[in-house]
Amino acid sequence: MSKSGEKKGDYSGLEQDLHRCLKCGTCLSVCPIYRETRLETESPRGKLALLQAAAEGDLDAARKFRQLMLFCLGCGRCAAACPNCVDTTSLFYDARAVLSGYMGVPPVQRLLFSTFFPSHKLMSAAAFFGNIAGKISAGGIIDMIFGESKPALMAGFFKSYSWPSFMASYKEKKSGGEKIGFFVGCLDNYFYPETARNIVRLLEEMGYAAVVPQDLSCCGAPLLSLGLKDEAKDLARRTIAAFEDRGVTKIVTGCATCADIMKHAYPHLLGETGEDFAENVYDLVGFLTHCGRPLPGTGKIEGKVLFHTPCHLGQGLKLADEAKDIIKSVPGAEYVEPEDNDTCCGFGGIFSFDNPEFSAELRDKRIKSILDAAPDMVVTACPACRRQIDTGLRKAGSSLKTLHLADFITKNISGG
């Protein structure tokens, strides 16, 4: 960010992009928050108006302003729906960057997300202690770390993480074939190592060689959410460097959020360097759709399958139909589509820790629509959605299983 942008509450740098918003209100209809609250102040259009007022010096952008700007799932629906191509996602990230400049970020959060999350080694240690802390007391340490955020959920997160993580147990094979970089992402690494292994297995079954850089963990999404743009830039540079000179043709991740951030935020952060990298980034759905190789295995899966479209997959990467097509292509799988299937699980990263009740409300709505469709399994393509949906299903007393697309496909291999 430019030096002038660091001045207290100077939003004037955003003015030009804000002017693109014609206040047509199209984005209201897609925003999961506005659809619940019907409050203009909490709508994407309202947020842009607040930014505009702040940029024009008509609004003292302080506590309530900050609260409203952070009351956003970052789901990208508004940007995808805007007929006038207002890049709300980047505007909101930039706004948070200005905000963090003068309103600050709780120091422990800053440390956690800018130092620990990006590093697999440090994260392992943090997760280990967090796990113990979570098990001992759901408050305590985590309360300290997350400040204003509600600690219990975060504690819940650490409590259920899987040991050892994927990275800790992974040994790179020296197999031949086109090399594909695998960006594991923090959640699959710590919570769903089996899924990460299945992604590698899938790649190998398809004749590729997986390349997994060590000591990469976070894509930068939480940093952007907190407004730590400079730190996010550093992290983006590190991620790009980790894949340099490894001979990989593409980079794949099983997390739709990571893919969306690398594909769309990195260019915004780093310009051309980010663009060059982004071009070769794929989430698993996009990769399977565009790689030109057939899916392995012909085994059958019996049952009704529902695909939950992660916001970053459907809105950011625009791959909702492709994901469903993959599922439909699996023999035996009967695809079921609930009414209003394009709903957010309500997680939204840091959003869910700051607004646990609201997040749970959105989640439970989603769960209801899933249960109404009576599937035999739920498949998704983002570990965060998966956790959120799993939690919701358990709360609703359902024993329904949630799988990652990679688990679903490799299950098919073993079934065959």
């Binding site: 693109r20 014609l22 206040k23 047509c24 209100g25 199209t26 209201l28 209809s29 897609v30 019907r38 409050l39 203009e40 102040t41 709508s43 309202g46 108006a49 607040l50 007022a53 008509d58 609004l59 003292d60 309530k64 302003f65 409203l68 007929p83 006038n84 191509c85």
Partner: protein
């Protein structure tokens, strides 16, 4: 000019007690967010109230009436003429919390809804019963039925099926002094007394606050055929519109795009519309499958006759959607093409559409401001978009002069200056051009009876200097 009272802390507390703290808003942030609508003009209110039931609306109005506080009802704020902006401060009455569909009654072919229901949600709810609520403003995913009723919104379907006004059978509304009034009934015929329902529909929040709406439904047509036709001349496309109607066809949609609209869409979306295309018609026929197909085939004959060099039809949803793509891209593309655009939605008798298109182009050339003309031409409604290269005084003055010419022309040919978007405050300068003086004066008197203290949406619809 009416004198307004001050919203003292005491009055605010009284109002807060009615709606509860959660639905009472006055922070600087909230005032910013409720200062605009889709006209993008801005005036801040003093407070925002979100009633959840008619009783609350009535109690709010009683206080506003007693204290002479302006009240502006607001739906989703997608209005294009500044209708839900509070020009004189006071209260924004946000109706979005009253958003329940109270009943869908297939046996009576009606639905009863609260005003904050989003139009698309009503469409969805009734379609589950095989029923159809035809009014389809392009903003239907966001706008509210209350806003539609207050503007008598229309859309492509209105050529065949009529506008919002034609689908409202009854209303509950709160008058300026807090009295709750019910008009109409759940019946298709009703000649008992004056038709107050029709008076309140289209009244833009200047006569009463609409709190419940009974809408008429019809059976959902079984199938729809979409036809997209390319013409080498804008003129032949507009002539085809007049020809289709005069030959006795009533398509469910008949949309027109002129050359400028097409070029702008192509520039900003790269849809691949060939450069020789200078006019586009998008037509839909509906009904039972056979009828829809037969009409489409006959209309194709007319299109070819009038010089269409490419005609494409589609019946399944995905393909139909594709044919709609260029039409749907116009508004956003125009947004990018100009620094600022003014969207006028004039209406002419259908037979005059070809003349109107040429004449408006002439006026545009005379004033040196490009226009894109498109719209629901089948019902005579043309969206005339002035593409301005700035918002400064000189641009606005030039635009105003041009609008005067356009409105003058439209009125001289028996047309009207707004078919859908209403007057709000943006079109006030032109209202007296298009209205018979006796009618305008009667309207003022009606306004006076409904709202003697001018607290309901003040500054809208009527030019202030003309007083009855």
């Amino acid at each position: 000019m009416a004198e307004y009272g001050r919203l003292t802390e005491e009055i605010k507390n009284e109002l807060k007690e009615i709606v509860g703290g959660k639905n009472f808003h006055e922070s600087p942030e909230e005032l910013v967010a409720y200062a605009y609508d889709a006209s993008a003009f801005r005036f801040k209110p003093d407070i925002i109230l979100r009633p959840v039931e008619t009783g609350q609306v009535s109690r709010i109005m009683k206080i506003a009436y007693r204290e002479k506080i302006p009240v502006v009802p607001r739906g989703a704020g997608t209005g294009l003429t500044g209708g839900s902006i509070s020009l004189k401060g006071g209260i924004i009455l946000s109706m979005t919390a009253m958003n329940r569909i109270l009943s869908v009654e297939p046996a009576n072919l009606v639905a009863v809804v609260q005003p904050g229901v989003v139009t698309e949600d009503l469409h969805r709810a009734v379609s589950k019963h095989g029923l159809f609520y035809p009014p389809d403003p392009a903003s239907l995913k966001s706008c509210t039925i209350g806003g539609n009723a207050a503007e008598s919104a229309g859309g492509p379907h209105c050529l065949k099926y009529g506008v919002t006004r034609d689908y409202i059978l009854g209303l509950e509304a709160v008058l300026a002094d807090g009295t709750v009034l019910r008009s109409g009934a759940k019946v298709m015929k009703n000649v008992v007394g004056y038709d107050l329902t029709r008076l309140l529909v289209g009244s833009e929040g200047t006569l009463a606050i609409i709190t419940e709406i009974t809408v008429k439904l019809i059976p959902m047509p079984k199938s729809t055929v979409t036809t997209l036709a390319y013409f080498g001349e804008s003129k032949s496309a507009s002539e085809a519109v007049a020809a289709i109607i005069s030959k006795g066809f009533l398509p469910s949609t008949l949309e027109f795009m002129d050359e400028t609209s097409i070029r702008v869409v192509e520039k900003f979306t790269g849809l691949g519309i060939p450069s020789e295309v200078k006019g586009i018609l998008l037509i839909e026929t509906d009904g039972d499958t056979e009828g829809a197909e037969k009409s489409a085939a006959e209309i194709e004959g007319i299109l070819r006759d009038k010089g269409a060099f490419s005609v494409e039809t589609a019946e399944d949803e995905k393909k139909r959607d594709k044919l709609w793509h260029s039409r749907r891209s116009i508004a956003p593309a125009l947004g990018q093409a100009a620094q600022f655009k003014l969207d006028e939605d004039v209406v002419l008798p259908v037979s005059l559409i070809p003349e109107g298109v040429s004449k408006i182009k002439e006026i545009s050339e005379k004033h040196g401001i490009p226009v894109a003309i498109f719209g629901h031409a089948g019902d005579g409604n043309l969206h005339v978009n002035l593409l301005l290269q700035g918002m400064e005084q000189k641009h606005m003055e030039a635009a105003e002069a041009m609008l005067k010419d356009i409105c003058g022309y439209i009125c001289s040919r028996g047309g009207v200056i707004s078919g859908e978007h209403g007057i709000g405050f943006l079109k006030i300068p032109y209202i007296s051009m298009g209205l018979d003086p006796a009618a305008l004066s009667m309207m003022r008197r009606i306004k006076n009876i409904f709202d003697p203290c001018e607290i309901l949406n003040p500054g809208k619809m009527f030019p202030p200097e003309i007083k009855a």
